[in-house]
């Protein structure tokens, strides 16, 4: 059993800290249980069950720190890992950026754990996959998909009295359906804390509809177009921006948040007024832990408010150096939406492109956060308020910062998953003008 209750974890870490002889000692414990099934060609290809439990110890003398970890939990092993961390700390050079450990803090309880998700079994995963495979067969398509559920817990405690515990559950599902001729492809991805919200049959039907609807795509000329990005596409584009909400890299002059001539863009109107981005551990659709590993309580934090840079994250070290207040990065990211549906957005579009999914996004230029990548699994041409026909995929070269300056409309926020990082976000569908496509792709 790799999931410990708060009381079990507290008792274990108290015992570990009792072995400590260093000036400061921090211990953390994390465990996961879960499983996955991968399938392709309408049959299961691989499946696995994973269970882990790891204890890490960091010991500090002055500004010298050593760390060690172990996955054995008898008393002798617990003492051994503490001694090893202390031995390493005594021999380590000073870390000029070391900050003393934080003392006791008060954390609100998180809402990240759902028993139904924790109760998932190989059989329930197989049932979810069986529904998806059957729906794909019924639509005469080939399905390739993946389902994974995780139950996890994290604890941090230190010799100054800090103690923080969190337990959470997650399930992610993604499905790609392709027709036999290889001329149509569709995709859907879903992520939840609560598996009862997961409808693999419904998601497969969405992917199947995209696959059948995207067959026979026509080529159009690359160029600047109004685009409607479905949440999966928009998510993948703007998650690359969240890492840049960091004061240090901005102050050092090497991020899109750097101000020409020095300093950062805090307070600047960097995006359209409709853009609001924040973190909130208590959002019921995307809850997160209520503390970070340094021991900071996590609260709602606005990053972009009405298009202005409202906050940047400051580590304790960088905050002290700059005379600022420390501010941790968010554990989740949420972008506010509007009340339009995708259908509303299509209706109001004279000429444009509906994008279902983006793929292989890579940074081209850190200065402007220019990204390149391609559309995938359902790209459609819109004219006079209607979808006219599927179009071939295209490569774009666009910056999410420029893109969020060109917002025409936002839709209802949805929870979606990044295709590459597998992180979940709450992101609206968005209608963007002047989105730059630079070449055609024959890929289906």
């Amino acid at each position: 059993m790799s999931i410990l209750t708060k009381e079990e974890a507290q008792a274990l870490l108290k015992k570990v800290l009792a072995f400590s002889k260093s000036d400061e000692c921090e211990v953390s414990l994390s465990g996961t249980e879960g499983g996955n099934i991968r399938y392709a060609r309408n049959a299961i290809s691989t499946a696995g069950d994973i269970s882990t439990l790891t204890l890490s110890v960091s010991a500090t003398y002055g500004k010298k720190t050593g760390s060690a970890s172990i996955n054995e939990f008898d008393d002798a092993s617990l003492e051994k890992v503490v001694r090893r961390a202390e031995e390493l700390a005594q021999l380590a050079p000073e870390n000029p950026e070391h900050m003393p450990l934080m003392g006791p803090q008060t954390f609100k309880d998180a809402i990240t754990y759902v028993q139904a998700t924790a109760d998932m079994t190989p059989e329930s995963r197989a049932d979810a996959v069986a529904q998806s495979v059957q729906a794909s067969k019924d639509a005469k398509l080939q399905a390739a998909g993946y389902i994974e559920n995780t139950t996890s817990f994290d604890v941090v405690a230190n010799s100054k009295g800090l103690f923080a515990y969190n337990q959470g559950t997650d399930v992610i599902f993604s499905i790609t359906t392709r027709n036999e001729e290889g001329t149509g492809s569709g995709y859907a991805a879903r992520g939840f804390n609560d598996v009862r919200k997961l409808d693999t049959l419904g998601a497969t039907k969405v992917a199947a509809s995209k696959a059948n609807g995207s067959a026979g795509a026509k080529a159009i000329e690359p160029g600047k177009y109004t685009v409607i990005l479905e949440p999966v596409a928009a998510t993948y584009m703007i998650e690359n921006m969240f890492r840049g909400f960091d004061a240090r890299s901005a102050d050092e002059g090497r991020s899109f948040m750097s101000k020409p001539g020095g300093g950062n863009r805090l307070g600047e109107q960097l995006m359209d007024e409709k853009v609001n981005i924040y973190s909130d551990p208590f959002n019921k659709d995307l809850p997160s832990a209520t503390w970070n590993r340094e021991g900071f309580p996590l609260e709602r934090t606005d990053w972009i408010r009405n298009g202005k840079v409202e906050n940047l994250a400051y580590s304790r070290y960088w905050a002290e150096k700059k005379g600022a207040k420390p501010l941790p990065f968010g554990a989740n990211y949420i972008m506010e939406g509007g009340d339009q549906t995708i259908e509303d957005m299509i209706k109001s579009t004279e000429k444009g492109i509906l994008v279902s999914r983006l793929w292989y996004i890579r940074l081209v230029d850190a200065q402007t956060l220019l990204l390149t990548g391609l559309t995938r699994d359902g790209t459609f041409y819109i004219e006079n308020g209607e979808i006219k026909f599927p179009i071939k995929n295209m490569r774009f070269n666009e910056s999410p910062v420029i893109m969020l300056n060109n917002v025409e409309a936002l839709g209802k926020v949805e929870r979606s998953i990044s295709v590459e990082s597998y992180r979940s976000y709450l992101i609206p569908p968005m209608k963007i003008r002047d989105f730059t496509f630079t070449s055609l792709s024959d890929a289906v």
Binding site: T54, S56, G66, A89, T368, L374, N397
Partner: protein
């Protein structure tokens, strides 16, 4: 090596650094522990036999077992300080079986006979559970048992036996040279890995292997304070399947030219000096005029284009659709291969797969399902002639045996088809890079790999680079910036009009190539000589924000 010397440098900032792509059970250890021998090979055989017997007893028709000890070391520095030194170890057993015609897999980090037997039974149970969803039974290509055999990467010095202090000293010297030459920031690091893995199967193989890889690298940043613009230049090193001897430069391993590049031995101090000069030049370089150019691509750049546009689309599992939900499928469909005349590239283009290539990242004695590696043609005189296949795929393309390119990143992950080293063969005629430059009227010479992106069937790609040199009327006229080229894979390879001869042949490579769900990493090399591609579309990537 004395334990104290290891310890002295082992704890700097450990814990702050997120080690990438670690297997599930990797744990931090002190560097001295990396030199432990691990368990005796006779005991490994006993444990392996327990797994095979337990699987067969439960009804498996085939079973293999991998007992793995995976070591990694990361030494990271920034400017004048050490950011982190992390040594990790992961040890355990993975068991794969066929039962009821289906694959099953299970793994444990408890390496006792009892736990291994239970894990083998769990693997059979998973296979039987999976067989409830109808599918064609697994067809496994025959493989002879090799008996008890061993293989080791032919290294001179294990990177793990070199004191961490020596690595730190080298990296801080690298940083000092960069800062002394006017850089504003510099990061540098040395990554080393060692896979100690024991494989046994019901075919009668007992294979003990010791595989080493190393990756030194840096990134230099220069900021123009007046404009607020910044530029970077990364190292021109390649990760290699070598020991620490890779970091002992020799004159004969240097390739001279507009900037010095390296093969088989790497001079990190020289390269960072050149990088600092390059990055300064890059800031004031001319922004490229978009249009068609003849491209001259150095092996330090071309390896990544080969990786994305040739190596991935010739993976048979991708062709068949097993990767469709993640990285995609392939435009190299079976009908194109069956036709026997699909012109992938120009007649100059010969691309081989070679899992045993010396010094390469993918070099092993046996793959992760007990097959000795082979060398075979993928593209012959420009025509698609083969794919990359493993035992359960061989029959699909009419092979009587596997091509030996099965791999798992750890004992805790199931093995599947991963690319072997895939390389462009040098030109057959005598041709130097200087000769090639003389023949270009309007071109760009690209060195080092930068941004990269390709579609899910591997047609449309875009690549950047580290440094770009304009060629006009047969001469290099200066540095360019904001360069990226876009092409369609088939058109690009058919535009290949010249390849330098074998004197210029070098390996590049990827230390962490991702594939699969859940995603796994693979290390793989790609060799080439400098090659020319005519009339490729170049775009300008400069933009303005705010």
């Amino acid at each position: 090596m004395k334990r104290k010397e290891f310890l002295q440098w082992s704890a700097m900032g450990l814990g702050a650094f997120m080690v990438p792509s670690l297997p599930a059970f990797a744990r931090a250890i002190d560097p001295a522990e990396a030199l432990n021998e691990g368990i005796d090979v006779r005991l490994k055989k006993e444990l392996a036999d327990v797994a095979l017997s337990a699987a067969k007893a439960k009804g498996a028709t085939y079973a293999d077992v991998r007992i793995g000890r995976y070591l990694n070391q990361f030494v990271l520095t920034r400017e004048n300080r050490v950011q982190n030194v992390a040594n990790t170890e992961s040890f355990g057993v993975g068991i794969r079986v066929i039962a009821n015609g289906c694959w099953g897999f299970a793994a444990t980090n408890k390496v006792t006979k009892e736990d291994i037997a239970r894990t083998a039974e769990r693997a059979v149970a998973v296979a039987k559970a999976n067989s409830r969803v109808p599918a064609d039974p697994v067809q496994l290509a025959p493989q002879k048992g090799y008996g008890e055999v061993a293989w080791k990467t032919p290294i001179e010095t294990s990177a793990f036996s070199v004191p961490v202090k020596d690595k730190v000293d080298l990296l801080l010297k690298v940083n000092s040279i960069a800062m002394g030459a006017g850089a504003n920031f510099v990061n540098s690091g040395i990554f080393a890995s060692n896979e100690q893995k024991y494989f046994a199967s019901t075919d009668g193989s007992y294979i003990d292997q010791d595989i080493h890889r190393i990756y030194p690298q840096f990134n230099v940043t220069k900021i123009d304070k007046a404009s607020g613009k910044f530029e970077t230049r990364a190292s021109l090193s390649s990760p290699m399947g070598m020991g620490y001897e890779y970091l002992t430069p020799t004159p004969e391993a240097k390739v001279s030219g507009i900037v010095t590049r390296y093969k088989d031995r790497y001079d990190m101090l020289e390269d960072v000096k050149n990088a600092a000069a390059d990055v300064t030049q890059k800031i004031s370089a001319k922004s490229v005029e978009p249009g068609k150019y003849d491209l001259l691509l150095d092996p330090s750049h071309l390896w990544l284009t080969i990786h994305e546009s040739v190596a991935h689309p010739t993976e048979l599992d991708r062709v068949l659709g097993y990767e469709a939900n993640y990285a995609g499928t392939s435009f190299l469909t079976l009908d194109k291969w069956r036709s026997g005349n699909f012109q992938f590239g120009s007649k100059l283009v010969n691309i081989v797969a070679d899992k045993a290539q010396p010094h390469s990242l993918g070099a092993v004695g046996y793959d992760d399902e007990g097959v000795a590696p082979k060398k075979w043609d993928l593209i012959k005189d420009g025509v698609l002639v083969n794919y990359q296949a493993i035992r359960d795929q061989a029959h699909i393309i009419g092979l009587k045996e596997s091509q030996g390119c099965c791999y798992a990143q750890s004992w805790s992950d199931v093995q599947f088809q991963r690319m072997p080293n895939v390389s462009l063969q040098p030109g057959k005629d005598t041709l130097s890079v200087d000769d090639m430059i003389k023949n270009i009227k309007k071109g760009i010479y690209i060195i080092g790999n930068g941004s990269f992106s390709i579609d899910q069937q591997r047609y449309n790609f875009q690549f950047g680079g580290q440094t770009f040199y304009e060629i006009k009327e047969g001469k290099i006229t200066g540095m360019l910036k904001d360069v990226a080229y876009q092409a369609n894979t088939r058109e690009f390879w058919n535009s290949c009009s010249a390849i330098a001869d074998k004197r210029d042949y070098r390996l590049g490579g990827a230390f962490n190539d991702g594939k699969g769900q859940p995603s796994q990493s693979n290390a793989v090399s790609h060799g080439s000589s400098t090659a020319r591609f005519d009339g490729v579309n170049v775009i300008n990537t400069a933009r303005k924000i705010g």
